[in-house]
């Protein structure tokens, strides 16, 4: 657990004199990042996220207040030792250009005195673990793409298996597709490793996706709200947080609502290669096509099939929801389906049935009512 208690950071004025109040980057911050969880710091540029993060490993010294890790005041520890015990992923990776990927990853274990062989074996495991081809271990950073470098940065921070990780916009330098990949891999990794993570981003979507809890900071380094992502979306404390959390938050909040068990309609299907007559025999304008294992492939417009169903006639606009997914995915499947019937599959990707938007809405409303009746009770127990 990382604990901030009344932490303030005031930078000296540009003139260098420390009179006046200088510029306050972090203002009386009290915050707890629980063990084994991801705490995301999010906020507009210049709100003090990086400053907050770097005070934990003492790259920046707080003006006042204390920061403790598992009850030990960081100020009382040897600074090099403290840092070696904390995984640190900096923006743009910050890899060492003169070292191979492998040697970058072994940096901290080697500083800690782990022998070369052991360090390398473990580094190879990590390199694979973060989704890199082991053949890349011999490359130099200049020979990697931005996304690959960021993966190496994460592997390097993980190498000494530190219980605590500080990550400063680790996925910011890559395109949205790669970023989503990295985020998913990061979540998968974290579900295995259970590190205590302080994660900085300026992207609220990333914050909401990755955080077990999200701390929204406003300019001047004041903590505006600290809550679970769902709570943050459902109940921003003020206009600033509401504005920062952004549009579509009603819809986005559904990401955190598990899909309830709903009765799904059986959907008649055809296979690839089915004849036009087979398709028309189903009797609906849009017919679902499935693969050999029963996995949904796409919708076919009956009228558009000339001789038989081929991959080229498949409509691929519809998303597929999972039975164990969220209400948001379920609603999206229904909304994106050309037939209006949202495709639902099980965890193995096999078709289970379909559902219409009109059937998802009552589930959403039922959930809201349940949450509303629960909330006062929760508050009562909290007191």
């Amino acid at each position: 657990m990382i604990r901030f208690e009344g932490v303030t950071k005031r930078y000296a004025d540009a003139s260098g004199t420390d009179r006046g109040d200088g510029s306050v980057a972090v203002d009386d911050l009290t915050l707890e990042a629980p063990t084994g969880k991801i705490t995301v710091l999010v906020g507009p540029s210049g709100c003090g996220k990086t400053t907050t993060l770097r005070m934990v490993n003492r790259m920046i010294t707080p003006t006042s207040g204390t920061i403790s890790i598992d009850g030990r005041d960081t100020a009382s520890l040897d600074v090099a030792e403290l840092r070696r015990g904390i995984g640190y992923v900096i923006q743009h990776a910050g890899l060492f250009p003169h070292r191979t990927v492998l040697d970058n990853v072994t940096t901290v274990p080697r500083l800690l005195g782990t022998d070369k062989r052991t360090a390398r074996t473990r580094a190879m495991e990590l390199i694979e673990r973060v989704g890199l081809d082991p053949a890349m271990a011999k490359r130099y950073p200049a020979q990697l793409s931005g996304g690959q470098q960021q993966r190496v940065g994460v592997a390097r921070a993980l190498a000494a298996d530190p219980p605590v990780m500080l990550m400063d916009e680790p996925f910011s330098a890559v395109d949205p597709v790669v970023r989503e990949q990295l985020q998913n891999e990061f979540l998968r990794l974290q579900s295995d490793l259970g590190k205590t993570i302080l994660f900085v981003t300026h992207d609220i979507d990333e914050a909401v996706k990755l955080g077990d809890q999200v701390a929204v900071l406003r300019v001047g380094g004041v903590l505006a709200q600290l809550d679970s992502p769902a709570k943050l979306l459902a109940d921003p404390v003020d206009d600033f947080v509401a504005g920062f959390v952004g549009r579509d938050r009603g819809y986005r909040a559904l990401s955190f609502a598990a899909a309830p068990e709903l009765s799904l309609a059986d959907e008649p299907t055809v296979s690839l290669g089915a004849s036009a007559d087979d398709v028309r025999a189903v009797g609906t304008p849009w017919v679902l096509c499935v693969g050999a294992a029963g996995e949904p492939l796409g919708w076919v417009r009956a009228a558009a099939v000339e001789s038989e169903v081929t991959r080229t006639v498949l409509h691929r606009g519809g998303t597929v929801a999972s039975t164990t997914g969220s209400l948001r995915a379920l609603l999206d499947a229904a909304l994106s389906s050309p037939s209006g019937r949202g495709v639902v599959a099980d965890d193995d990707g096999r078709l289970v049935g379909t559902i219409r938007a009109a059937e998802v809405i009552p589930a959403i409303e039922a959930r809201r009512d349940a949450v509303a009746s629960q909330a006062p009770a929760e508050e009562a127990t909290a007191r």
Partner: protein
């Protein structure tokens, strides 16, 4: 004078023996060069590293580069006149010569070291500290290896200049290959002068080749490509005086390096001629 006479000079056993023989002169020359570089390194490397690391007193680097414009021989006589009366031994000549050569070697070493350390990306330095490296570890494990290629091109440039210019030591009655030039001039033995120049050029090329080899072996492949790019763009973006290292900028271009050798190699005798006050000799074939 023909190739044959030059050949004859080099194959004459008399020229390979004794104090005045090639081996001894080369050894003396290398001694001056080595001593000069050693002193210059001790001064320039910590200073350049500190300027690059802290970003303070950058004008030192620019200032040192501007000092390259001071005429070497004039400085040598000035220093000799100043030091000579104070010391009653051979050192009265050695100290001024080495001082002047050190002053010549410092600018390229200083700017090479500075540019090298300065080329370390802040993110890499930050990551190193953040991972728990001590200041010394950051310097030796991260900054130094990244700075190495630019430092080495500074060293190459300094070595070339010192080897070429160490000929001036002879003009204050010391040894080294400069003797062939000074003595040759005095006795109008032009063959000897040409052969001396050839020896200087060969020595410079060999030293440069060895350093190039060292560079190839010591510099991480991860940065050798990048470093060239950095040096190039720096050279392009700055005026010739603040340019960290002209040889570094064109390391891949052997012609320019060769030109530098021959160019500075020939300044020795020309300056010497001018300074010994026999300008008319120069125009004769």
């Amino acid at each position: 004078m023909s190739l044959a006479t030059i050949w004859a000079w080099f194959t004459d056993p008399a020229n390979w023996q004794g104090t005045d023989g090639v081996p001894n002169r080369v050894l003396e020359h290398l001694l001056y060069t080595g001593l000069t570089l050693l002193i210059a390194l001790v001064v320039a490397v910590p200073l350049g590293a500190w300027v690059g690391h802290s970003g303070r007193l950058r004008w030192l680097v620019t200032g040192a580069n501007a000092a390259r414009a001071i005429p070497t021989l004039g400085l040598l006589f000035a220093v000799s006149m100043f030091v000579g009366p104070l010391i009653q031994s051979d050192l009265a000549f050695v100290i001024p010569s080495i001082t002047v050569l050190v002053l010549l070697a410092i600018p390229p070493l200083l700017s090479g070291t500075y540019a090298g350390i300065d080329s370390v990306e802040p993110a890499a330095r930050d990551a190193a500290r953040g991972m728990g490296m001590t200041g010394w570890q950051v310097l030796t494990k991260v900054e130094a290896p990244i700075a190495l290629p630019l430092f080495l091109s500074g060293l190459r440039s300094a070595t070339l200049q010192v080897i070429a210019t160490a000929t001036i030591a002879a003009s204050v009655s010391l040894g080294g290959l400069g003797r062939y030039l000074i003595d040759g001039l005095a006795s109008r033995d032009y063959v000897q002068m040409v052969c001396g120049s050839i020896l200087v050029a060969v020595l410079a090329l060999v030293a440069d080749g060895l350093l190039a080899l060292l560079e190839k072996r010591a510099v991480s492949p991860g940065i050798s490509g990048r470093a060239t790019r950095v040096a190039r763009s720096r050279a392009r973006n700055s005026d010739p005086h603040s340019e960290p290292d002209p040889d570094g900028a064109d390391r891949s271009d052997p012609d320019s390096r060769q030109a530098a050798v021959v160019g500075s190699g020939s300044t020795g005798p020309v300056e010497a001629t001018a300074a010994t006050g026999t300008p008319s000799e120069r125009d004769r074939p």
